[in-house]
């Protein structure tokens, strides 16, 4: 287990989540489940992002007592992915919310959560 | 100017000879046909009498201007061929106006009369006329095919399309005739001739029993007289054309008479012993053996 450093674990977790998310998205016929799949997918990506920015034995890029400003360059992990992931989470959240709103509206119109019932437009 | 008048006079003389010979030849042919049927046949002067009678009819009717002009076109066509055809080889006087155009002119001038006649007869408004014309035109299209090939073949052979030069090239005896030097072209053309003269088996156009005499159903009196005049003229002129192209031309009138007679006789001879083709039969007939012969004739000279 020594080889399994933190970033590898998170990376694998992230990829696994991502794949599970995709699997859910592609196989589940229920709209809500699809949204959940998407959320997993999104989360997986976020974890991957975080794991990519990780540098062994460093701490989060929060400048407080534990990490002094002048040591920051050596102590903290790469802050950019962290910043990015925050933005990405926000956006992911926004999209998930919007999806759910759509699901709600669609359910109200058709009283159904089956994705196969929503293919009026085709060809 | 003087030259032209002299030329015209000679041409008129030629016309007189050709016309009378045409009438006589027609009568002779009918007499031959009669003898084949063990009849005595018409008197030799009958065509002249018929013509006089027709021209002297006291009344006539007209269906319209085009009906009136139809025979004019028709005779114009015959006369035109006559005018553009050199009759006697080497004779300055009987070469007519052949300097105005060559063989092509004559081949296409045939249509002048046909077209006019077709229009005139149709203006008569008689259905039989139109039926006859459609048959005639249809048959004519394929009749021309072997003839065209034969003409191409002899044009290749003599390297000219001028009739005088073609005749000139055939002088010097029987062995120089196209008949001998280019038998295939001659054969193709002579088969076409059967269709041109519209004797049996290609006489569906007139078809006396089905559509009373076809195009000229409504023509009578002087109109018919003109048509008959043209018929007589045309037979000689067409025969003379073939004579010039394939049988060495004529150096004097006797030769002219004998050769045109024989050419015409060929068509009558086939006609006497033949039944009549339906239109699709005669249309396709020319696209079979005559066409094949024509193609061979051209291939030999490529």
């Amino acid at each position: 287990m020594e080889n399994l450093s933190l970033e590898i674990v998170t990376l694998i977790t992230g990829i696994a989540l991502l794949l599970i998310g995709i699997w859910g998205l592609l196989t589940q016929k229920n709209l809500i489940k699809m949204v959940i799949g998407f959320a997993l997918f999104d989360t997986g990506i976020h974890i991957i992002m975080v794991s990519i920015g990780y540098v062994k034995n460093r701490t989060a890029p929060i400048l407080d007592q534990a990490v002094k400003t002048n040591q920051a360059a050596e102590k903290i992990v790469d802050p950019v992915p962290q910043a990015l992931v925050l933005t990405a989470i926000v956006i992911g959240l926004g999209i998930t919310a919007l999806m759910l709103a759509f699901v709600l509206k669609m359910y109200q119109k058709k009283k159904s959560l089956e994705i196969n019932n929503f293919n009026d437009l085709k060809w | 100017m003087n030259d032209i008048i002299v030329k015209l006079l000679w041409t008129l003389l030629g016309l007189f000879i050709v016309l009378n010979w045409g009438l006589l030849m027609g009568a002779t042919m009918r007499k031959i046909v009669a003898r084949v049927a063990h009849r005595y046949g018409i008197p030799f002067y009958q065509p002249w009498l018929d013509l006089i009678k027709l021209y002297s009819n006291r009344s006539s009717i007209s269906h319209g201007v085009m009906f009136y002009l139809g025979p004019v076109f028709r005779l114009g066509g015959g006369l035109g061929i006559f005018l553009f055809l050199p009759l006697i080889y080497g004779s300055e006087h009987f070469s007519n106006f052949s300097w105005a155009g060559d063989l092509i002119l004559i081949l296409y001038f045939q249509f002048f009369g046909m077209l006019g006649m077709a229009l005139g007869a149709s203006d008569g408004g008689h259905p039989n006329s139109v039926i006859g014309i459609t048959r005639g035109l249809g048959q004519f299209t394929t009749v021309e095919v072997p003839l065209t090939l034969a003409v191409i073949s002899i044009a290749l052979q003599y390297n000219t399309l001028s009739i005088s030069e073609i005749v000139a090239a055939q002088q010097g005896g029987f062995q120089n005739w196209t008949l001998v030097t280019n038998p295939l072209a001659t054969a193709a053309a002579m088969l076409s001739l059967l269709g041109l003269f519209r004797e049996a088996p290609f006489n569906l156009v007139k078809a006396p029993n089905e559509v009373p005499i076809g195009p000229p159903t409504e023509y009578h009196s002087a109109f018919l007289g003109i048509l008959r005049t043209n018929g007589a003229l045309l037979h000689v002129v067409e025969a003379a054309l073939f004579m010039n192209l394939f049988f060495g031309g004529a150096t004097h009138w006797v030769e002219f008479i004998v050769k045109t007679f024989l050419v015409y006789f060929w068509s009558v001879f086939v006609g006497v012993v033949s039944p009549r083709f339906r239109i699709e039969q005669s249309v396709t007939w020319f696209l079979k053996i005559p066409l094949a012969i024509g193609i061979l004739a051209v291939i030999l000279y490529i």
Binding site: M99, L121, K122 | Y68, G80, G101, D102, T141, I279
Partner: protein, 1039 residues
């Protein structure tokens, strides 16, 4: 100068401030939003002006005062300024256009709307790749918000599909971006470019993912189902934004990241582009829903531009020009079309005929369609031209073929649509149209025209195009509302002026061009005179006719291949408009334009190949030295589509027969000569050495001969007079093709005789028959008959026409036959020649049929009182007849100069002695033949009049009828199925094999489209699967 950052600031500020307004209050927020967007537009426009006018350097804007990579940076350069201006411009017009929707939905929508444009602005300006992602997401969310402007359930579900798809794509993008960051350590695009990530280990995968995500945002075929659904279900105004604004922005992104992708990936982009272009256009063919069709078209266009980006390594300096002209065309046209779709509110393209109620909209519709298709004078024409030229310069023939194939498919459905709009009967009436809705498409339409003009100016001197004729057409279009008589006079004046400008010069310099120009101008004026016979306004006729003549004139005047092609396309479109004016022409116009376009594309290819070798001067055509056969074949086939040679003829009969009475002569007697002219310069360019031993010309000769045979035979079996003449045109053009293919002196003189004759007699015949049809109200010959009594002048005209046509001496038709005979013997094409001559004799059949069925025989009951044809037809007809007579009597007046012109090219075979033409094998004197026949005719007529002076005039039933009398004129008139016996013998030749072949081909394409479109099963999940699969497959194909 207002900083570009203010765009974002204003947008954000407005969006947030809008939140303060109550739902109920709508006008004030709308005003604020409108002002905001207007200001954004102003800022961008100002920058654009600055860059264009002052050649200013691009500026970098660093937010938060740090240099990148520590802060987000924006860039404002010329490219950014252009794109931002475009985006904001369409935003402004969209805001105007969507006014009602905003009022309905309230403040939230306005917020979403303005945020969308902010997002798009930033997408264009940003130089930070993650920032790009963020604003991409913002605009996606905003778009989805806008989709909700339409409250239908379909919009909901399509929005959901869109969300799923873009969610996945943004996920991919995110992974790609983070991977780039991981390998590169920077998000600043400039740094990424300089560090060249592809060289790094694993960097290529990162770039691949990013690239794929951006490509997927451009909706490549077949991974675009969700986008099509949105196009179909969203409000058309949103569709316009989605297609024009978002698409444009995404293309810019793709353009922005191209610096850090490598060559093989360009190929990948190009392949994706071409697949998208062809695939979506293929699917468009079967589409009946207007908005979805526009969706397919959008996708296709984006694919095309993607292709251009992908092909940029081949395109050199012209890359940006090509890409931008195509993009601006797409941008203007697609937005305009979506807007029009929103105005007329018709789902089915079949119902778009309501457009005709509003001529302005119809014109705009036409402009946009042409802009999309790359017709001159719109920008994309020049773009496509350059594209083909550059590709050809780099020997990328396969790409050219693919692009042209895709364009052709696009033309299929666009022209089908256009045809419906022009011709289908109007079922519903449309409601009143608001000014706010019509203004945006109007402005875009104008912009298209202006952009086209400036594109050409921008290209430089070598590309000069004479816009004078087009300006005249524009003027006529603008005054389309006045009476036809005035317009007719103006049109004639315009033509005469044009002739006055061009003809004398051509007469001095180039006799052959002079002949064709004289035919085009003279024929045009004469046929226009016939237009006086029409009452009312004849809306749309004059622009179309003048457009065609402008094109024809341009073809003659063209010095370069560009000018030629420009004029060629103008002429094609003008004639299409003319042809489709006929009552039942929708189908025929369609097949005409398709064949013409196909031919034009072949020409384009040939010009491209030629350009690669010798440049664009037409005169340089003779200098080309490689690909000779290919180039000449392409040119020949291209021109033969216009000449309607066998195999490419099936458009002609219907198109000519169904056209209006004075249009038929224009398109038959005159228009077909354009193809002849093209063929002629092609063969001239080949030079005698090549031409006389060319297999190509040998084949053309056979095609010509068979065309003549089949055309004439088919003409003989027609029941419809104009159709008969149309088939006759095919036959005659077959002769002409044959004559020119001989490439000998005699053959060419014969060809010219045919060209002149065919012009004259076909104009006479079509004008006369057209005029008769106007009087008797039917095309069917068997419904006419005996009209000689009512219309003697028409009869004489037709008589002279058919005598000329059939080549009977003494009229000029015989000259053609004479040259033919001599030429074919001297050339050695005996059997082809025999076929042609056979065809010539068959011409008698239809000539006779034409004149007998219409003018001779029995006059019908209801025609007993018809009048002589209109004087306005008689004037041009008899002018032409006088021309025929002069040409017949004095053929050497025209033929001698032609003969002199040709002799240097092919060697002299013909000399003139006065009026006698002397060839090696024979001679002919048209003048004397005329005299002799004239004198003879008069003599015989005199004799007949003498012997037969007092003929009783009788009436039509006074015929011998076996003792009976005729029953009705109908049963006595032999006209229907006239050559029954003949068709029994030879009818098998004219079985419509070729029509069947083409039908099967088009059926196969439609079937293919029908099968392919099954991939869009409407299920969001499937679409998600496609995305994943697409990435995976592409990945394995690339790596």
């Amino acid at each position: 100068m207002v900083g570009p950052l203010y765009i974002i600031a204003i947008a954000l500020g407005t969006a947030f401030s809008l939140g303060f307004f109550k739902k109920a209050n709508r006008n004030i927020p709308y005003a604020i939003m409108f002002l905001a967007i207007a200001f954004m537009t102003f800022i961008s426009g100002q920058w654009l002006y600055a860059f264009l006018a002052n050649q200013q350097e691009a500026i970098q804007i660093f937010t938060a005062g740090f240099q990148p990579p520590f802060s987000i940076s924006l860039q404002m350069g010329l490219h950014e300024a252009v794109f931002v201006s475009m985006i904001n411009g369409i935003g402004l017009l969209s805001a105007l256009y969507l006014y009602e929707q905003f009022r309905d939905k309230g403040v939230q929508m306005m917020m979403v709307f303005i945020l969308l444009f902010m997002g798009l602005n930033v997408i264009i300006m940003t130089r930070d790749i993650f920032n790009l992602f963020v604003f991409l997401e913002i605009s996606t969310i905003a778009i989805i918000g806008l989709i909700l402007l339409e409250k239908k359930e379909q919009a909901m579900s399509s929005g959901f599909k869109y969300l799923i798809a873009s969610g996945i794509i943004s996920g991919i993008l995110l992974i790609g971006i983070i991977a780039i960051y991981y390998y590169n350590g920077t998000l600043f695009i400039n740094d990424i470019i300089s560090s060249n990530p592809l060289l790094l280990k694993g960097g290529s995968v990162a770039v691949f993912l990013t690239l794929m995500a951006i490509v997927l945002e451009l909706k490549p075929f077949p991974v675009n189902g969700w986008a099509l659904d949105v196009y179909e279900s969203a409000h058309p105004g949103v569709g316009a934004i989605l297609s024009a604004a978002t698409g444009t922005a995404m293309l810019f992104v793709l353009y922005k990241i191209t610096p850090f992708i490598a060559d093989p990936w360009f190929n990948m982009i190009a392949t994706i582009g071409i697949i998208t272009f062809i695939g979506s256009n293929l699917l468009g063919i079967q589409q009946e829903n207007a908005q979805r069709l526009l969706g397919y078209s959008s996708v296709g266009q984006l694919g095309l531009i993607m292709l251009v980006i992908g092909l940029s390594p081949y395109l050199g300096d012209n890359y940006l020009f090509i890409g931008f002209t195509l993009l601006i065309s797409h941008f203007l046209a697609k937005a305009g079309l979506f807007w029009i779709a929103g105005i007329i509110k018709q789902k089915k393209i079949k119902n778009w005929s309501v457009l005709r109620k509003t001529p302005l909209l119809m014109v705009l519709f036409g402009i946009f369609i042409l802009t999309l298709l790359g017709f001159p004078p719109f920008p994309s024409f020049f773009g496509k031209w350059e594209l083909v030229m550059e590709l050809s310069n780099n020997h990328q023939l396969a790409w050219i073929i693919a692009i042209l194939a895709g364009s052709f498919l696009e033309a299929v459905y666009l022209f089908r649509w256009f045809g419906y709009a022009l011709k289908k009967e109007i079922k519903e009436t449309t409601s009143k149209i608001q000014f706010s809705k019509i203004l945006p498409p109007f402005l875009f339409g104008i912009t298209s025209l202006v952009a086209g003009y400036y594109t050409n100016i921008f290209q430089g001197d070598a590309y000069t195009i004479n816009y004078l004729p087009l300006a005249l057409v524009l003027i006529i279009t603008l005054i389309d509302f006045i009476s036809a008589k005035i317009k007719n006079s103006l049109a004639i004046l315009a033509m005469a002026y044009y002739g006055f400008l061009t003809l004398p010069g051509l007469y001095e310099n180039d006799f052959i061009r002079f002949i064709f120009m004289a035919i085009f101008i003279g024929g045009g004026i004469l046929t226009l005179i016939a237009g006086y016979a029409y009452q009312g306004k004849r809306k749309g006729f004059y622009p179309a006719a003048l457009l065609m003549f402008a094109g024809l004139g341009g073809i003659i005047e063209a010095q370069t291949t560009l000018q030629f092609f420009f004029a060629w396309e103008i002429m094609t479109f003008g004639s299409y408009l003319l042809i489709i004016r006929g009552k039942h022409s929708i189908k025929h116009g369609f097949s005409y334009i398709l064949f013409s376009l196909g031919g034009a594309y072949l020409l384009l290819m040939a010009f491209g190949l030629m350009n690669a070798q010798v440049g664009m001067q037409i005169s340089a055509l003779s200098d080309i030295n490689t690909h000779l056969n290919l180039i000449f074949s392409l040119l020949a086939i291209g021109f033969m589509t216009k000449m309607a040679s066998l195999g490419l003829h099936i458009w002609l009969p219907g198109a000519h027969a169904e056209a209006e009475s004075d249009v038929s002569p224009m398109v038959s007697a005159i228009l077909l000569k354009a193809g002849v002219f093209g063929l002629l310069i092609t063969i001239l360019a080949m030079g005698a050495e090549y031409a006389q031993h060319s297999t190509l010309l040998y084949i053309l000769g056979w095609i010509g001969a068979l065309t003549a045979l089949v055309g004439n035979l088919a003409a003989s079996f027609q029941e419809d007079a104009k159709r008969l003449l149309a088939y006759s045109s095919i036959g005659q053009l077959g002769y002409i093709l044959f004559a020119y293919a001989m490439a000998t002196h005699l053959g060419w003189v014969g060809g010219f005789v045919y060209v002149i004759n065919h012009f004259a007699f076909k104009a006479v015949l079509f004008l006369t028959i057209g005029a008769v049809v106007l009087r008797v109200g039917t095309h069917k010959m068997y419904e006419m008959g005996g009209l000689i009594k009512r219309m003697p002048l028409a009869f004489i005209a037709v008589l002279i026409g058919i005598i000329t046509l059939s080549g009977v001496p003494p009229l000029s038709g015989f000259a053609g036959k004479w040259f033919f005979y001599h030429a074919l013997i001297s050339k050695g094409w005996y059997f082809q020649g025999a076929v042609v001559l056979f065809a010539g004799i068959i011409a008698f059949l239809y000539c006779f049929r034409l004149i007998q069925s219409i003018f001779l025989g029995q006059l019908k009951d209801n025609h007993r009182k018809v009048k002589e044809i209109s004087i306005w037809f008689i004037i041009p007809i008899y002018t032409l007849i006088i021309g025929i007579m002069i040409f017949s009597a004095r053929p050497h007046w025209i033929l001698q100069p032609i003969s002199e012109y040709i002799a240097p090219y092919f060697g002299r075979e013909l000399t003139w002695n006065g009026s006698t033409a002397i060839a090696e094998m024979g001679y002919w004197n048209g003048e004397w033949i005329m005299y002799i026949i004239g004198v003879m005719f008069v003599l015989i007529l005199g004799w007949l009049l003498y012997t037969n002076a007092k003929a009783q005039k009788v009436k039509q039933f006074n015929i011998v009828y076996s003792g009976e009398r005729p029953f009705t004129p109908e049963t006595t008139h032999i006209a229907h199925n006239m050559y029954a016996g003949y068709s029994k013998a030879l009818g098998f030749i004219v079985e419509p094999y070729i029509t069947k072949l083409w039908n099967n081909m088009s059926d196969a394409i439609v079937q293919l489209g029908g099968l392919t479109k099954r991939i869009y099963n409407g299920n969001g999940q499937t679409y998600a699967f496609y995305i994943i699969a697409y990435i995976v497959i592409t990945f394995f194909l690339v790596f």
